[in-house]
């Protein structure tokens, strides 16, 4: 019961913040609403007993990536540029509304027919589900190869970012 309330409240805030990200004119405000969205997601992860992922969501996503977004927005000084421009995609509004209604109809159809219903009465979770211990045991024994691949990915990102911001004399 408490979980349902938490889900409804957080889901509503997350959806509202998500809509605000796209609708608000000032890019810095958009970025801030996105942070609110990530926060709601982190608390939803907590409700689902995935506390390690919740901490990561705040630490990496809301704490590092959004700071990067803010820096980039300030770097490009976008706030002054876009506030007075008219919507460049105005002609596509009709198509967007049609597709959106189609998607909504599809979701309602699936929800009503129960095709995507999960089996009710799922088992109880183990005591330390979602804790760093369990994640660590799994990650470093079974998923070693993706883990090492991540380090190569990070290396590529480092090289890429240096190359992008460098200007040859």
């Amino acid at each position: 019961m408490g979980e349902l309330i938490a889900f409804v409240v957080l889901g509503a805030i997350a959806v509202a913040a998500g809509i605000a990200v796209v609708v608000v004119r000032n890019p810095v405000h958009s970025a801030l609403f996105l942070v609110v969205n990530f926060f709601c997601l982190a608390v939803l992860f907590l409700v689902l007993s995935a506390e390690f992922v919740a901490a990561l969501q705040v630490l990496v996503y809301a704490g590092a990536i959004m700071v990067l977004f803010l820096f980039v927005i300030m770097l490009l000084n976008v706030a002054g540029v876009f506030e007075s421009q008219r919507d460049p995609l105005r002609s596509q509004r009709g198509l967007a509304v049609c597709l959106g209604l189609g998607l909504l109809a599809e979701v309602l159809a699936i929800a009503v027919s129960g095709a995507a219903r999960l089996p009710s009465g799922g088992g109880t979770l183990p005591q330390d589900f979602g804790s760093p211990t369990l994640v660590g045991l799994l990650l470093y024994s079974q998923y070693v190869f993706p883990f090492e691949a991540v380090s190569v990915l990070l290396l590529i990102a480092m090289v890429g970012v240096v190359v992008l911001t460098k200007r040859s004399v």
């Binding site: 979980e3 990496v60 470093y140 480092m158 911001t165």
Partner: protein, 118 residues
Amino acid sequence: MLSAYFPILVLIVLATGFALGALTLSHVLGPKRPNPAKSEPYECGMRPIGSARQRIPVRFYLIAMLFILFDIEIVFLYPWAIVFDHLGLFGLVEMIVFIAILVVGYVYVWRKGALEWE
């Protein structure tokens, strides 16, 4: 397990309430006598030259990106540190490989001068 987080919620409510309450209180209690000289942005006594929304240098983007990459590395280190006893030598070796690859990246970034002039 979720109930262990409830006191944090209480503390969040208390902290936010205090901060917003104090801000509103000062808004209410302070005198309001705006005049043009007071509300100009402060530039050591002169009129501000140029817009305030300047572009910031690109090296801040570089720092933020590098921070994300090393932050992800740190995030991988924590669960490893916890289950270290269970993993034995294999765990040590796999993490050494991980960190070695990232150290290669770090040395590259250092040698290219991305950590300079800031």
